[in-house]
């Protein structure tokens, strides 16, 4: 197992190479450059050339890439061309916001998705099954932008139950430790701020969680249906176990494996930044951060953030693969 993990971590190196290279090429082939963004359309050509030289943009591409790699190996992601802040430092504030939102969204998606999927499978073709699967179908095809706006309209504007945007009301401030506000507010012992942070989290998490929730529900249902047909389920019933035990213990543990795959993948996607959700809810997360950086052709920011996200994506996959062995003893890695 340790061997396997080490090997997988080593495999990370070429993968990260590939990803950094691809991002690098992509972003440099999009027309436009940061100089225009910084100086505006009407800057003098001399000033532009000077700045370009200063930013190292006149170097051949391979040289720029090697420089980036070299810095990366030293744990340096460079500085934003626009803000001149260190990319790592900026990520440390934006990324936790996304992590918090993603965790909340995935929590809702997993709990509700699995519960709905299990009930739908157990009561196949019932009204609940039909209704929830129709909901799931709508869920996956729902434009998040629109859903977000509807949620804001209903729960913030009409009902006034929840705040429409941002992470925390201005009257609260807590010392930053993890930058996950739910944790920071608790660490500060500020209960009111915690509740406020939680209230801010609900709507964006719902919007962001809808697609994964739908996917998880459908996957759970089909996986459960498959498992419920198996002989060992009949054995469990023949032993005299009650339905709850049969379904929640014997069936669900078997049915969970494909669901776990989906959870892992969705988790990775969401971490990559939920631009839509973050935009609609003015959530200061990494999705918006990268989006703005792309628009500004802020090469170091785009390059650095995507590298970090890719790294985390791959790590999540590794964790999922390890979790497989915990759930299914037949899976063993050499």
């Amino acid at each position: 197992m340790v061997n396997y993990i080490v090997r997988r971590l080593l495999q990370l190196i070429p993968v990260l190479f590939g990803i950094t290279f691809l991002t690098f090429m992509l972003i440099h082939f999009i027309p436009g450059d940061p100089v225009t963004v910084i100086l505006g359309e009407h800057a003098s050509p001399e000033r532009a050339a000077e700045l370009r030289e200063q930013l190292g943009l006149n170097d051949p591409l391979y040289k720029q890439y090697l420089k980036f790699l070299n810095n990366l190996l030293h744990g340096d992601l460079g500085r934003s061309i626009i803000t001149h802040e260190k990319v790592l430092k900026e990520l440390a504030t934006f990324f936790p916001a996304t992590v918090e939102l993603t965790l909340a969204a995935m929590f809702i998606a997993t709990v509700v998705g699995i519960a709905a999927g299990v009930v739908a499978a157990v009561k196949q073709y019932s009204w609940f099954d039909n209704l929830s699967m129709l909901g799931a179908l709508t869920g996956v095809s729902m434009p998040i932008f629109w859903l977000g706006l509807m949620l804001i309209y209903l729960f913030a504007q009409v009902l006034g139950w929840l705040p429409p945007s941002a992470r925390l009301s201005i009257e609260y401030s807590v010392p930053t430790v993890t930058n996950l506000y739910l944790i920071d507010t608790l660490l500060a012992g500020n209960w009111a701020a915690f509740k406020d942070a939680l209230a801010h989290l609900i709507l964006p998490a719902l919007a962001l969680g809808t697609i994964p929730m739908s996917i998880i529900a459908r996957m759970t249902r089909s996986s459960m249906l498959e498992v419920l047909r198996q002989d060992y389920i009949r054995t469990a019933r023949a032993k005299g176990l009650g339905e709850a035990m049969v379904i929640l213990k014997h069936a669900l543990k078997n049915a969970f494996l494909p669901v776990l795959t989906v959870i892992g993948l969705q988790f990775g996607y969401l971490l990559g930044g939920a631009v839509m959700t973050e935009t609609v809810f003015s959530w200061p997360g990494v999705g918006r951060y990268i989006y703005q950086a792309i628009m500004a052709r802020d090469f170091p920011v785009v390059q650095g953030s995507i590298t970090i996200i890719a790294l985390i994506f791959v790590l999540i996959n590794l964790i999922v693969d390890i979790l497989y062995t915990v759930i299914d003893p037949r899976i063993r890695y050499q």
């Binding site: 054995t235 019933r237 032993k239 005299g240 014997h250 543990k253 299914d328 003893p329 037949r330």
Partner: protein
């Protein structure tokens, strides 16, 4: 002799795509305490559905027990609530299945699956349950029982898994064990071992057994009485010696002719020609009619009753006359 189980006119039908499939259609038999009863018949004749009906585990939908009685230890199981039935399953009546490779849950240890039986039915301390589990595994011939408790099913061979299934089934010393083709999926040598084990344990515990099989060799080896089924219906019910020495139903005769016998130097086996009828569209009269070499006119029109002869029960018009004559005189 005390009857432990009496199945009377059991009917279990399946309903799919608007059709009624009569998987079990009027099965009647009884089982004495300590007896081994064989149920034989081609695949699809309703043996498994009969046993699942007794356990009340017929998948529903699409299946439904639509009629009959299943009297177990004086109580009609069909009248029990699901909760009462759960107390019977695994404790009073237990079951082992055809495919040991798929009958154990792959993601739980043998220990977990064995102890579960005690946990559900008995208030045993974990330690006592564990001790009993080890004792059981030893009893069914699993070496290093203590160590193997921590194993998962995939770490066992098919024969060993079936031993685990047997241990699980006998854990609470049930009055009735239903074994649905317990050796069909195993190699011949393993088959013999498992049958020997079951026989031995049956002697020791005095468990009544319903042995479902399509292998008449197994019946000859293990059973006291036999029920022959065809297309969901009982066709002949007699004790083993009578049935083998003097089969009367044309289907039973056909079955016996289609197996090789060691003592008779039969040169040619004659399998029954044709195939079983569509259970959703049974012939009006005798279900065996299309394949029967003794058929008469009445057979295509009238369904033969399952009636008592002095030494057996049988459903065939050939013997209906005999009965009626006897009744008239």
């Amino acid at each position: 002799m005390e009857k432990i189980l009496e199945v009377k006119d059991l009917k279990t039908y399946f309903y799919s795509s608007g059709k009624e499939i009569r998987a079990v259609d009027g099965v009647t038999f009884s089982l004495n305490r300590g007896e081994i009863l064989g149920i034989v018949g081609e695949s699809g004749s309703g043996k498994s559905v009969t046993s699942l009906s007794i356990m009340r585990l017929v998948p529903s939908p699409p299946g439904k027990i639509v009629g009959g009685e299943i009297i177990f230890a004086g109580e009609d199981l069909l009248k029990l609530s699901e909760k009462e039935m759960r107390k019977i399953r695994g404790e009073k009546i237990s079951m082992i299945f055809q495919d040991p490779m798929t009958s154990l849950n792959p993601v739980f240890t043998i220990e977990e699956q064995l102890l579960e039986v005690f946990r559900v039915h008995k208030k045993l301390s974990k330690k006592d349950a564990r001790e009993k589990a080890i004792e059981l595994l030893k009893k069914v011939g699993i070496p290093e029982a203590e160590k193997r408790l921590k194993s998962y099913p995939h770490q066992f061979s098919g024969g060993m898994r079936q031993r685990v299934m047997i241990a699980m089934a006998l854990a609470l010393n049930p009055a009735l064990l239903i074994a649905d083709e317990p050796t069909t999926a195993l190699d011949v040598t393993i088959q013999a071992q498992i049958l020997a084990l079951m026989k031995e344990l049956q002697k020791e515990y005095g468990t009544s057994i319903i042995m479902i099989t399509h292998d008449l060799g197994v019946v000859a080896e293990m059973c006291h009485r036999v029920l022959v089924m065809y297309a969901g219906r009982p066709v002949e019910f007699a004790d083993v010696k009578t049935l083998f020495a003097n089969p009367k139903h044309p289907y039973t005769i056909g079955l016996l002719n289609s197996i090789p016998r060691l003592n008779e130097q039969k040169k040619r086996l004659t399998p029954i020609e044709g195939s079983p009828p569509d259970l959703g569209n049974l012939p009006r009269g005798c279900a065996f009619y299309p394949r029967c070499s003794f058929k008469q006119e009445v057979c295509s029109e009238v369904k033969p009753d399952f009636r008592e002869l002095p030494d057996r029960k049988i459903a065939c018009h050939l013997y209906q006359g005999v009965l009626d004559d006897a009744a008239a005189s």
